[in-house]
């Protein structure tokens, strides 16, 4: 029997009568992380990791939330549920479900590289593993974070030396904080868009050390942004909001920037291929480490990863979900499944 199935409401564990990251309102939702395609509005009760709770609250308002520590077990109608680090963003978790000796794990979104902010990914031994596949093609192979951060620093330094602002587009929850925590803050002042600063505050409140940032709206003086690094969500790119920065160089920090055409099509000066999702070797390594004999592949390069795993002898199947599907496939729209 399948412990977890895809239903019209979301991934469903019938033995425990709960859903994982449901895309329609349900009575009990177990949440992997706070991104909007995984943590949706309208369910009666939510369960998530402790660090994820404030993010969920910020996103969904005053809802009923139960929080667990990583590794802590909870009995839900006779099913043992526990949350394990996924390394994706602060408080992100893989959901481990055990019932009558059968263990399933749903990954949500994950990455293997330590980013210095979120709890590092831990493989969960299981019989069946439900894996994302956002970057499920061999062309996605990330360079080490330290190398990319050096590129970011260099780009910022050079702009600063030439008196320009550096506008860095990054997803507001997770990516922006990861970059903030790792950038060389001695280069100049750092400003954040109004959609990003409140998330910084949540991160800081949970003990994540981030350099000092200011709201863009609070900048004083005509040349406030010359030499500054400005974090903004990708939707701000090429919008009238950008006019205030005068001369600036812009960059997008996203796994999609691995492909030159994605960057050129959107007209960014720079693309930093840094992602909170696993790259191809990462996906294979994570899947292998679970020891699972069955793998279900969700959102991303579903077809390619499923076929590759099948050809290497695993029982791999596609699983249809509504997580960041269209974006993930094309890389042409909003380039990263949040």
């Amino acid at each position: 029997m399948d412990l977890i199935k895809a239903t019209p409401q979301g991934l469903y564990c019938s033995a425990g009568d709960f859903h994982i990251d449901p895309w329609r309102p349900v009575s009990r939702a177990v949440i992997t992380h706070g991104h909007s395609d995984h943590a949706r509005w309208g369910s009666a009760a939510y369960l998530c990791q402790r660090d994820c709770a404030p993010i969920l609250r910020k996103r969904l308002g005053d809802v009923s939330i139960q929080a667990l520590d990583y590794g802590e077990r909870l009995d839900v109608n006779g099913v043992s549920v526990s949350l394990h680090p996924a390394g994706h963003v602060l408080g992100s978790a893989q959901i481990r479900v055990e019932y009558r000796g059968e263990v399933w794990a749903a990954s949500g979104d994950y990455k293997l590289e330590r980013d210095g902010v979120s709890a590092p990914f831990e493989p969960v031994r299981c019989n069946a593993f439900i894996s994302e596949s956002t970057f499920g093609l061999p062309v996605y192979r990330w360079r080490p974070q330290a190398d990319i951060m050096e590129d970011v620093n260099q780009w910022w330094r050079r702009n600063a030396a030439e008196g320009r602002a550096s506008a860095l587009f990054a997803y507001g929850l997770g990516k922006a904080q990861r970059l903030l925590a790792n950038v060389d803050a001695s280069i100049g002042p750092i400003y954040c868009h109004g959609a990003i600063e409140p998330i910084n505050d949540i991160y800081r409140a949970q003990g994540v050390a981030l350099p000092a940032t200011r709201l863009v709206a609070e900048a004083v003086g005509k040349n406030a942004f010359a030499g500054a690094l400005v974090f903004a969500p990708p939707s701000a790119a090429a919008s009238p909001w950008m006019r205030r920065f005068g001369e600036y160089s812009d960059a997008f920090a996203s796994g999609w920037m691995q492909i030159r055409g994605n960057r050129r099509r959107r007209g960014f000066d720079q693309g930093f291929a840094i992602s909170d999702h696993a790259d191809w070797p990462g996906l294979l390594e994570a899947i292998h480490a679970t020891g699972a004999e069955r793998v279900f592949v969700t959102h991303g390069s579903v077809g390619a990863l499923t076929r590759y795993l099948s050809e290497s002898g695993l029982d791999a199947r596609e699983m249809r979900t509504e997580y960041g599907e269209e974006e993930a496939e094309s890389g042409a729209q909003e380039p990263e499944a949040p």
Binding site: L137, P138, R265
Partner: protein
């Protein structure tokens, strides 16, 4: 190679022209200061200006390299390639990461390794590629494979390269354009001496040296796109303009100096050998001339006068003359090429380009008529014509006359300021001076249905942006009518429209064959094209030129798209 790869990344990253220019000039100056770098810089200029060495290694070998070295099944490689949209980039991303690397200069790469590769047997070629791939620093991979695939475009035009060189060398941009003529010619192997010559200070000897066989940079026309009511306001009196047909042929320059002649195409290819019939001109034209004009296929059985263009054949026939290494007697008989002259750039060895258009035209007429008449006296019909002048009392009348273009098999008109000089490249001054306007006919168009889509390359990589279009085989009342594909197009949509179409294609996919998807027909586009001809190679029986999307007909149901009959009605009347 390291410096070139770094320059490539800089150019690729900068979106502003100013920043690209700065990076180029910095690279060139650094190379000028160090003679050891001249040879590599000569190659860099060659590649950036659009030079492409003849195929160094077949793409088949590059694919094999990816499959074997990255240990991927073929289907997965294809999936990657279609996502990335560029073979060189796909390889750069897929090959294993190596620790130990080796540095070689761009010149060493080209001269000692890549150029000799062509002559090697296939297995040896593959072995070499493999060995190199293992030692190539990560940061140089993309540029390396792009050198091999010949797709090194990086958003820098030839003109920008010339401007950067001019700036770095401190010489006039026009002189630099002239120095660069022929620089990217096929088969050319640029050297340190070439780079030194390109960047040398201007000298008097140079003027002499430049003349040997060198053509002048072609002056390009700009599209004129204002409505006819605005023409008087924009361009002044019609009488201030020389008006000619815009021929649908190959732009070329005929240069005759020092007892020899050369024929150059606009791509700066020396094409003298492809058009042996033009050799006759040399006997009748004087020394020290350079003519600008158009190569066309023209059957001159009833030759009457230099301005007589009856017998002009469609471009499709000229196409059969392109790229031939051997031109047979039959080809010469069936597809005779003539040179339609429309400007005189040099006479008696004197550069006339600064003289007013009108004056050059006068001299050109005298020259062509004189040569033609002398040849006629000996019973020779020269493969040379004079582009006829078109006149009209006002712009609306000229507009009406333009409609004759289609019947004549030309693309529209060219307007040249009477007082204008012959400029360089596509530089633009005011709308009325020193400018050539191309005033093309509105394209023909039909409403066609999108039936297949493929992901694009370059800027469009990863997006379903390349489409195959079809029209109906029969009118709506026919019970078994089908959609017949007739054209492929990828340009004309805004980025936003492209994304919307991309999303619809993903939702309406019926089948996937490799990179191609067939879709449920739901999308209708007005498809524009410049010309249409019968074609046995196409299922539809017709081939169209420069098809592109003019408009997304959201308002139009698929059933109301045009039929093959409507398309065929646009075919030109059969030529005599």
């Amino acid at each position: 190679m390291k410096a070139f790869a770094a320059l490539y990344r800089e150019l690729d990253a900068a979106t502003a022209i100013k920043r690209k220019q700065k990076a180029l000039v910095e690279y060139l100056r650094a190379a000028m200061d160090d003679p050891a770098r001249h040879a590599s810089a000569a190659w860099a200029v060659y590649f950036l200006a659009g030079g492409k060495p003849r195929q160094l290694a077949p793409t088949k070998l590059l694919r094999r390299l990816a499959l074997e070295e990255a240990r991927l099944p073929e289907w997965l490689f294809e999936e990657c390639y279609s996502t990335v949209g560029d073979l060189a980039e796909t390889l750069a991303l897929l090959l294993p990461i190596v620790d130990e690397t080796e540095e070689a200069t761009l010149d060493q790469w080209m001269r000692e390794r890549l150029l000799p590769l062509r002559a090697a047997p296939e297995e040896a070629k593959y072995k070499s590629l493999c060995g190199w791939a293992h030692k190539l620093p990560q940061s140089q991979r993309l540029v390396f494979f792009k050198m091999i695939t010949g797709e090194l475009r990086v958003g820098v035009s030839r003109l920008q390269v010339a401007q950067a060189l001019a700036l770095a060398a401190g010489v006039d941009a026009k002189r630099m354009a002239q120095r660069m003529m022929g620089y990217t010619q096929a088969g050319r192997v640029p050297t340190a001496t070439d780079f030194a010559a390109l960047t040398a200070p201007a000298s008097a000897d140079e003027d002499e040296a430049l003349k040997e066989g060198q053509p002048y940079p072609f002056y390009l026309a700009h599209p004129f796109q204002q409505p006819v009511e605005k023409m008087a306001e924009a361009l002044g009196a019609v009488g201030d303009w020389i008006v000619e047909w815009k021929f649908d042929g190959i732009r070329a320059q005929y240069v005759q100096r020092g007892g020899q002649f050369q024929l150059w195409s606009r791509g700066e290819e020396l094409v003298t050998d492809s058009y042996p019939e033009l050799a006759e001109l040399q006997r009748w034209l004087p020394e020290g001339v350079a003519l600008d004009g158009e190569l066309v296929v023209l059957r001159d059985d009833d030759y009457a006068a230099p301005q007589d263009l009856s017998g002009l054949q469609p471009f499709a026939l000229l196409q059969q003359r392109l790229g031939r290494k051997v031109v047979s007697a039959k080809i010469l008989r069936d597809l005779p090429v003539v040179f339609i002259a429309y400007d005189l750039l040099e006479q008696d060895g004197r550069d006339l380009r600064e003289a007013p258009q009108e004056e050059r035209r006068g001299a050109l007429e005298a020259l062509v008529v004189d040569a033609t008449l002398r040849a006629r006296d000996f019973g020779v019909t020269l493969p040379l014509r004079l582009s006829p002048l078109l006149t009209a009392p006002d712009w609306p009348s000229l507009y009406a006359k333009r409609e004759e273009a289609r019947a004549l098999g030309v693309e529209g008109m060219i307007l040249k300021a009477r007082a204008g000089a012959y400029g360089v490249g596509r530089r633009k001054g005011s709308d009325r001076e020193n400018v050539w306007w191309k005033w093309k006919l509105d394209p023909m168009s039909v409403d066609a249905v999108l039936i297949y889509a493929q992901r694009g390359h370059g800027r469009r990589s990863g997006v379903y942006s390349d489409y195959t279009f079809a029209v109906w085989s029969d009118p709506p009342e026919a019970p078994a009518r089908a959609l017949v594909p007739f054209a492929k197009a990828y340009s004309g949509l805004t980025d936003e429209e492209m994304r919307a179409v991309d999303a619809i294609i993903r939702k309406t996919t019926v089948e996937t064959f490799g990179p191609v998807r067939s879709v449920t027909p739901t999308l209708v586009f007005e498809l524009g094209f410049e010309g249409i001809a019968e074609s046995k190679r196409h299922k539809s029986g017709v081939a169209v030129r420069f098809p592109r999307m003019l408009r997304w007909r959201i308002d139009k149901p698929v059933a109301e798209a045009d039929t093959l009959q409507a398309l065929r009605e646009l075919l030109p009347a059969p030529h005599a």
